[in-house]
Symmetry: C2
Subunit: 148 residues, 2 copies
């Protein structure tokens, strides 16, 4: 499988899980043209008007992830328009566990891109916690402050 | 152009217009497998937590449109999960104008599919009206009752 096809299969895994938890979920179309593609996040998940905007990544080894400034800008723009919260969802290859990290945790690099540290990934919110928080009235960021 | 490719170009036209009006908009991925495809509406448009779930159609001549029961069920399920409102968006070929018809206006056929009459299309809400209603606090269905 190509890297791109593998990426899609992880996205589909997350879409399927969110759907099973009762969310309305949509994966972005795989446009041939990159210029069109960047307007969308990878996944948008909605539960009764609460919107979660997701950029999905995978992590094989304990090394920081890098995300382009352009990707983060588009994620934030979509979140802003929709009134949603923007997350980087990281799947740990091996365990298959998903971690959700609010975009605010990203650190800007000198080149204008963003770095996500291994610690921030491990401090990320787990899928089940994300679900229960979205289904309750609390904000996810409140929950994270309580937890850590 | 094939019928399918033409359909996508009309969807993209609607996505672009909704985006220009400040909505977060996503078009469904064009899955090869129909079984996967039907879980998604054609388009989801969100404005600050208000969700519009859309099945897009085109109308060449003044003849009723038919929509499968399965498509309507999936549209309603997505609307229900997201807390959104479900519409059939009809583009009149020639004028290029879009009309939005709430799914409640569909009439069930004996075969379990749905019919959208020409009158209901012409009584549909125009794009600009849809935008202004979503951006205000009113429900779209209230607006339609006032208008007609």
């Amino acid at each position: 499988m190509s890297k791109r096809v593998k990426g899609f299969s992880h996205e589909r895994d997350l879409v399927r899980r969110l759907w099973e938890y009762g969310f309305a979920v949509m994966r972005a179309p795989a446009s041939g043209s990159k210029a069109k593609r960047v307007r969308y996040p990878d996944i948008v998940a909605i539960y009764r008007g609460k919107v979660i905007v997701i950029e999905a990544k995978t992590m094989k080894e304990d090394r920081p992830l890098y995300i382009s400034g352009e990707q983060v800008d588009k994620l934030l723009e979509f979140a802003n328009r929709s009134g949603g919260e923007a997350y980087i969802a990281v799947k740990k290859i091996g365990t298959g566990e998903w971690f959700f990290i609010p975009v605010e945790k990203l650190e800007k690099t000198q080149q204008g891109n963003y770095k996500l540290s291994v610690d921030h990934v491990h401090e990320g919110i787990r899928l089940e916690a994300l679900i229960s928080v979205v289904k309750s009235a609390r904000k996810l960021t409140d929950y994270m402050q309580r937890e850590h």
